[in-house]
Symmetry: C2
Amino acid sequence: MNIGIRIKRRTLQAFVFFAAFSFVASAHAAAGDQDLINKANQIFGPLPQTMQTEQNPITPAKVKLGKVLFYELRISIDGTVSCAKCHPLSLYAADGLKKAKGNNCKENPRNAPTIFNAATQISEHWIGNRTSVEDQAKQSVTGPPAFGMPSYESVEKILKGMKGYVTMFQEAFPGEKEPVTINNFAKAIGAFERTLVTPAPFDAFMKGNVGAMTEQQKKGLKTFLDTGCMACHSSPYAGGQMYQKFGVFEPYVKYTKSEKIDEGRFAVTKNEADKYLFKVPVLRNVAMTPPYFHDGSVNKLDQAIWIMAKIQLGKDLSHQQTGDIAAFLTSLTGRIPDDALTVPIVPSAE
Amino acid sequence: MNIGIRIKRRTLQAFVFFAAFSFVASAHAAAGDQDLINKANQIFGPLPQTMQTEQNPITPAKVKLGKVLFYELRISIDGTVSCAKCHPLSLYAADGLKKAKGNNCKENPRNAPTIFNAATQISEHWIGNRTSVEDQAKQSVTGPPAFGMPSYESVEKILKGMKGYVTMFQEAFPGEKEPVTINNFAKAIGAFERTLVTPAPFDAFMKGNVGAMTEQQKKGLKTFLDTGCMACHSSPYAGGQMYQKFGVFEPYVKYTKSEKIDEGRFAVTKNEADKYLFKVPVLRNVAMTPPYFHDGSVNKLDQAIWIMAKIQLGKDLSHQQTGDIAAFLTSLTGRIPDDALTVPIVPSAE
């Protein structure tokens, strides 16, 4: 009996101790989580449901047309390029290549970014030579290493030649006399792209669901903030809002496997101050879209993180720190809207 | 009143006449339809629900894996080729090109046929140099103008390097110690392809729904049968069951825009009797998959029909007849299974 009582007493003591410890620990964790949630909300903020604008409001008919056009191969000079070529949804809408390949296997100057969560950036493309997703869609069709078509008119002619398209353009742009235009083509694809928002575990965490992220992911978020990454990678998209020099402390080519030096935004503005400036990329779904940087010169996420801290912030992160930040970044891997994941059938040629 | 009675009498007479006429006409139509339904069932017969075999039974896990692999670009030598490249579902699983383009824009020797309703043919590819859809999938990865990989082992190594694939192969091939093999790769893609049956209005008609086809489509079916097209284009797939010489009455190059003469199955067998023999293609969804013939040398369906009748059967069809047959062939445009039309997300690289 005595032994029994002793054991029971010890068990009770142990239980009390454990309960008290757990309470303190979880109160501490909760306080830590709340602090992190508050900071995250300040820096990133809630992801919107869509990225529509007044200039291009989302309508079902426009999105439907835009998605069909997104898969259209027959408006490229060799019949092998559609938007989906460089932005296959199966690969989180990036193509996995260092640099995108367009018509006749022509190499594009830079890596193709994902089109998910892409429509509210200050500009499109790495050097900001496209003003919007609509402008990007429009310029792609005549881009020599992209669709390679000789003119906008040649694209319009092909689309006008298919009854299915004429009907869909009429439905998407009601009341317009001649709706099959390159600008409406761009608007429809833009409207589709403006639906492509991918809510992730990180968003659930920001809303207060502390279990949505693992402890390592939270630690990585803290490291991301403490290191200063968020100075550029802010907004709900964790990027896309500014240009920055790639290589503030040291030239990037010292660490990347870049084959040549890219002068970045200088090519657009011819302004000396814009040399080596690139748009800060959106980090949403970054774990799903290697290789990294404007030239796809780095394959591994933790290596890309280490290089960024080193040359942008002058910090030499430990293996543990890059691993934690990489873990945080996987919490930005989001859910693709179901509607976007169904393949549309393009109109028949005859 | 008199006038009123006269009108009523006339109305009644007219009604009786119209009713009697309609009865006779519809009885006549019904008899004609029934005769056509009977003939169609004899020659074509019901489309099965799937094309599974004992060697490769369909399981959900295998189909899931097969669909993911179907979209996998990272197992091609230049990262630009997946099964979906030459068989994009948005274009009814053909690519719209004269001849398929593989890695580094290499041209394949022949036109890429649709993979819908393709798995029960006597062989795959135009000249029968692939024994089954599984064999086709397997040989594609090392095919120099296709995926262009150096060996099966190199493909297995890439797949084994992604945890997501290891799990999916384990689930698709339970109990196997080393499930990530090229043969299982082929089986999984084959299982997916064996689900790709596309029931069409023609099938509803064969089941007795006389309204499922238009009058012109029925007339076209009758012309198709009367002309003799069904001598080769039989079975539920309207083809795929035999080899035939392309150009029985006259050489095909006389009418097609072929750039060079293709000796067909002779390349496989080296048997003189197999010169210019090609597999009779499946006509399911033919209206959605131009251009036509082994070299994609003809764009228009009615022109392809005219050439076939001319050089295979020695018949010079009228514009009306080719139009009617083309109309019939559009009744073979079927419904793609919903499951097949959702894009899968491929496993992440890390």
